[in-house]
Symmetry: C2
Subunit: 373 residues, 2 copies
């Protein structure tokens, strides 16, 4: 991701846009609209500000792709003239009306997942009789399959996250007597120091808080004789890391040790199942079977994983019901967990890329429940 | 915002929800759907995670408000049983289908501005024949008028931002020889140190970069004899700060000094115009007239201000065409700017709350172009 010339970037975006148009044709979609979210930078290199001023890429079949952007944000756009036109709108114009004009007589319109709903509500006033689809069905299949440069970026981000996890496991991050929030801030600073451009999250959950999978690191002071769950990741050169490791402060009970060995086996089974040709749900099933068999089934309350790439969560999802076959280049988390409400929780997570040679892990640091005595 | 009991919080949310239902009645809206964004915490205290798992509050006339939330995020919700019911959905359920069931036969549905468009696209498959409106027209007017506790929170956040701006003006933040990105990180850390819970942005733009109003602080090294524009803010106890000050490193030219005196007069005129009963656009007009008269009209390329509260940008907007009359409790930025492409830019910004006694500023630090020699 380092030294790529503007020309080769233009060529990359142009080729991706061509494939989007091919896919639109196959699905009889007349126009694709992309705003906030990562489909836009994937196709143009430009990331829309998540604010009330609309930025929108309009892709149709019979006109150049057009990036409609607030005038005061136009200087932020790196032009790729062969890929898209830029139309800057002024503060007293209605950008939705401008989008509608560029849509021509489009009847079936694909909408970016994370576009603010207000713009779709407003657009409906301009395009009566149109029907809407999700742009993820147009762009997503392409974005899911990472090329060599994207896999290298995921590896670099994973290696940086690994280094922070290793600092945690070696006891280099002070824990006892500090709050979850302090440790979360410390981990965040270390993610940046190790090369991330942004921190996406740094969950630090102590003891009973670890039973809430999306716990917000708070004022709870970390104490002796409890488990600490750390799930953190960021974005580095445009691609995301995501890792979960647990440590135990003091001497874990036999119940904790035995639950952790179940978790580790479930994680390993999930990773092994992530082979080209298997379904996404089979990764979930493989991890879940181990936990079910050990009697913890009721305490594994989320899917086994999510796709990852430019976004921390993206397709494909490793969840029961998702029969999508895994392809080479699919990147996803494998992160089973066991959560005993009011008592403790544990989760173990790596990012895996499916390859023809088998699952390739982006993170490698010690998978055991490291004991910090 | 400090010591409020759960009971009084419940009463506050219940009263706000009642007013939402009254407004829905007036506009013949059958249901309001709120997800990501700040209408939801304003009405329930709960902030949805901006992820692919749907969180949605369904407000109708004939049933209790219902918060539909991913099961693994349910532990994050503070219950207010008299205000809303909680329905947790499991990983293999379709949350949009659950939302649709709670909508009953609703035909006119108001949609939160920042809800991910994918959920509206999916919902359209369940509620054929429904029409959609923007929830900002239901909740926004109420949220715009800040009560005493909210104004106190804005003042506290403003005072914290003031302290960081003062550090900048006193030369306590190293500038020369550092990159914009380094100074941005430094300002961010100081916002947190002064009491903010999160940093929303810290624009640092040197010299010609200051001509891009939404410049992203980058690798550009700050040098002598140039202007430095700093526009930063964060969230503290749920309410936002936002301030812009410029400093000059070295000896400014007469052209810069004279442009800055125009800018300062424009800012002052904008603040003075922000009185109860005046229109929002008149604030913009007052600031713009000063800049126009001085011949810089073409270089003031954005509206004069935006509302602020729980969100960094919210209604009302101080922009030509907005004839909304200012009411006591409206909080908004006044931030005229002058931008000479390729050369330099300058902006001056305070947050102002309209009161019966006149405009009340949330930030007070020196308004001059402080010279750091």
């Amino acid at each position: 991701m380092s030294v790529i010339s503007a020309t080769s970037q233009s060529a990359l975006y142009a080729s991706r846009l061509n494939r989007v148009r091919d896919e639109m044709q196959r699905q009889a979609i007349d126009a694709t609209l992309l705003s906030v979210g990562h489909d836009l930078p994937y196709l143009t290199g430009y990331c829309a500000m998540p604010l009330e001023r609309l930025t929108m890429l309009v892709v149709t079949h019979d006109a150049p792709a057009t990036l409609i952007v607030p005038r005061l944000e136009a200087p932020r756009v790196t032009a790729h003239d062969e890929v898209f036109k830029i139309v800057a709108w002024g503060e007293t114009e209605n950008p939705v009306e401008i989008v509608a004009k560029h849509l021509g007589r489009a009847k079936k319109i694909a909408i970016g997942d994370q576009m603010w709903a207000r713009f779709l509500v407003e657009l409906m006033g301009f395009v009566s009789g149109a029907s809407f689809a999700r742009a993820v069905d147009v762009v997503g299949a392409m974005r899911m399959i990472k090329d060599a440069a994207e896999i290298a970026a995921l590896q670099a981000a994973g290696a940086a996250a690994d280094r922070v996890a290793s600092q945690l496991q070696r006891g280099e991050i002070a824990l006892r007597g500090r709050t979850e929030a302090q440790v979360s801030a410390d981990i965040s600073a270390r993610l940046i120091a190790e090369g991330h451009d942004a921190v996406n999250f740094a969950i630090v959950a102590a003891g009973e808080n670890a039973a809430s999978p999306h716990h917000h690191a708070g004022p709870r002071v970390i104490q002796n004789n409890e488990i600490l769950l750390c799930d953190f990741g960021g974005t580095m050169n445009g691609y995301c890391s995501d890792i979960t490791r647990c440590v135990f402060l003091g001497e874990p009970s036999r119940k904790i040790m035995s639950a952790y060995s179940v978790l580790r086996a479930a994680h390993s089974a999930g990773v092994k199942a992530g082979v080209v040709g298997a379904t996404c749900e089979s990764v979930d099933a493989a991890a879940r079977a181990v936990i079910d068999d050990a009697g913890f089934g009721d305490f594994f309350i989320h899917r086994t994983g999510h796709g990852i790439g430019m976004e921390a969560h993206e397709e494909p999802y490793m969840v029961s019901g998702n029969k999508l076959p895994i392809k080479a280049g699919h990147a996803f988390s494998v992160e089973p967990g066991i959560y005993l409400p009011g008592k403790w929780g544990m989760r173990l997570e790596d990012i895996v890329v499916a390859t023809e040679a088998g699952p390739l892990s982006m993170t490698h640091v010690d998978h055991s429940l490291v004991i910090l005595s």
